[in-house]
């Protein structure tokens, strides 16, 4: 199937939903490609609508979702939006041909049994809103079954209405750990502890930015109430040093850390009878499509690779707009504002209609920067590893193998480490281990630079695709 449009939007979470609506309402013919089966993305993920009507339980900004969703459905009904769910983009290209569409997207079914027919989408302008996923730092035992990404636990609950286990420990850094733990408790799970590596005092230099977004303080108060109601211990300057097995997660060892993340001797303790451990160290924006299309990138305050955009969300590639986490991890409210700006601009690239709510975008970006500074990846996290700790889960490459390749072969960037050790060469293509491998390659206390992260995000195929679909390409 082939679809042509004025504007193609990839992703239909907060940013993509907003972009699609704004572009369609500005008069563009819009095509929307998304891996999910219904709008919402990860943030507004909900049970299949064929089974259960979504009531917004456990969600934030649900009224925003309902408003955007109604407008999305109306634009579909009016034939302005062609919605292509259940499809993943495996290749995005610029044609560079005068008189033909500037961008071409090749897609494949996210789930083979879904029956979603692969489509080729050609569009003059493209808005990429691929979102992100939990960033991970390995610790001994993190590859055991029962260890999950914190966001994965939340997605599980939102989509399935059940829990992936009974007794949970949530660890990492950032305000996102709070809704994850609150969601578990409200669904009937026992949260034994939330371990936050940073400390509330880390916010003190950033109070100005925090008070600029008062709704975050309200959310915080909601979580505090849930934590109190369910007696969830929130331990700051604390980490999980090891997940205990042997064959699945059964407990964790924890410790207090100093401001750099160094374990303070004598503070170790153990939690037994744990069946799910959730880790989240901020988020990794999904950068493969922006990188494949050649956008200018930069390192954000949290150490993530993100795309550079102007005030209309346009990247360095003319006609290519970015919105949401790929411009800097900043949460759903910011993603919606960016999506609205990107969609409107992509619909009318030559007009100079001013961006709506530029002050709100600026406030949320300041808040995001403050959040990143207050919840950093601990400088000393590499000290938590033992040589035999798995770093690349797919290819089972250990920390020792990676530091050996760094020290004896001079492999410092993620791509060189991949060539020498196979870290990042498996199914996930370094999406999970790339950041951690890049830290190890850069050396103790270091993080990967933009070049190293871009080398990891450069993936010939953005999603696994069948050989038959490759062979069926007509050019």
């Amino acid at each position: 199937m082939s679809v042509t449009a004025d504007v193609a939007v990839v992703g239909v979470g907060p940013a993509g939903l907003a972009a699609a609506v704004a572009a369609a309402e500005a008069g563009a013919r819009v095509a929307v490609v998304d891996a999910g089966n219904q709008p919402g993305g990860q943030f507004w993920r909900h049970a299949p609508e064929s089974v259960r009507e979504a009531d917004g339980h456990g969600h934030h900004g649900w009224s925003t979702y309902l408003d955007l969703r109604a407008r999305f459905d109306a634009a579909r009904g009016a034939g302005r939006i062609t919605y292509l769910p259940g499809l993943q983009v495996w290749m995005a290209e610029r044609t560079g041909l005068p008189g033909s569409a500037e961008f071409v997207l090749r897609t494949t079914a996210a789930v083979a049994s879904s029956g979603a027919a692969p489509a080729t989408v050609a569009a003059d302008r493209l808005v990429l809103c691929p979102g992100g996923y939990d960033r991970q730092l390995p610790v001994p035992g993190w590859e055991l079954p029962g260890v999950m990404a914190a966001g994965g636990i939340q997605a599980f609950i939102k989509a399935n209405g059940v829990l992936p286990g009974k007794r949970f420990v949530i660890a990492g850094t950032g305000p996102f750990l709070l809704p994850v733990a609150a969601g578990i408790a409200e669904a009937g799970g026992k949260v034994l502890a939330v371990l936050e590596s940073s400390s509330p005092s880390a916010w003190l230099p950033h109070l100005g930015a925090a008070t600029g977004v008062p709704e975050k303080a309200l959310e915080g108060a909601e979580y505090a109430a849930v934590f109190a109601k369910h007696r969830i211990p929130y331990r700051t300057r604390s980490i999980v040093t090891e997940v205990l097995g042997p064959d699945k997660a059964e407990g964790v060892r924890t410790a207090k850390v100093d401001a750099d993340g160094r374990v303070r001797p004598g503070t170790e303790r153990e939690y037994a009878d744990v069946d799910v451990v959730g880790f989240g160290w901020g988020f990794t924006p999904q950068m493969e499509l922006p990188v494949a299309l050649g956008v200018e990138t930069r390192l954000d305050a949290d150490g993530s690779l993100v795309g550079v955009v102007d005030e209309r969300q346009q990247s360095s590639v003319p006609g290519l707009y970015l919105a949401g986490e790929v411009t800097g991890v900043g949460g759903a409210t910011l993603a919606v504002l960016e999506g609205l700006a990107a969609g409107a601009a992509a619909a009318r690239p030559d007009s100079h209609v001013p961006v709506k709510q530029p002050a709100a975008i600026a406030r949320h970006r300041r808040f995001a920067r403050a959040m990143h500074h207050a919840h950093p990846v601990p400088a000393a996290w590499q000290d938590w590893l033992t040589p035999d700790t798995t770093v690349c889960r797919c290819e089972e490459v250990t920390a020792g193998e990676i530091t050996e390749a760094r020290d004896s072969l001079g492999a410092r960037d993620i791509r060189s480490l991949k060539s020498f050790t196979r870290a990042g060469m498996g199914w996930c293509q370094g999406r999970v281990c790339g950041f951690a491998a890049g830290c190890l390659g850069a050396g103790p206390g270091e993080m990967p630079d933009a070049g190293s992260l871009a080398s990891s995000a450069k993936r010939p195929l953005a999603a696994p695709v069948g050989i038959g679909e490759l062979a069926a390409l007509d050019n």
Partner: protein, 83 residues
């Protein structure tokens, strides 16, 4: 709206799932946390990222290998196999 539970099979044994649940959720809520062994170390794996990024939860669905259990919706009569 279909709210009847569905029955799938996992490695030949019947398993009940709530309508709309993912295969991964159907397995995990029955206490099955691992259904794949790694190629190199033979280590058990199940759900990890939960959103289709990590490919740790791969299963074979109705003969189609390498499907992400966290994304596949459990449907009546579906045959799921670990690997």
């Amino acid at each position: 709206m279909t709210t009847q539970p569905v029955t799938i099979s996992f490695d030949g044994r019947p398993l009940t799932a709530a309508a709309g649940q993912s295969v991964g959720a159907a397995l995990a809520s029955q206490g099955i946390t691992a259904w794949r062994s790694t190629r190199k170390g033979g280590k058990p794996r199940g759900l990890f990222c939960g959103i289709g990024v990590c490919f740790d939860c791969l299963v074979t669905v109705d003969g189609e290998p390498n499907q992400r259990a966290c994304l596949v919706e459990a449907c009546e009569g579906m045959e799921v196999e670990g690997s």
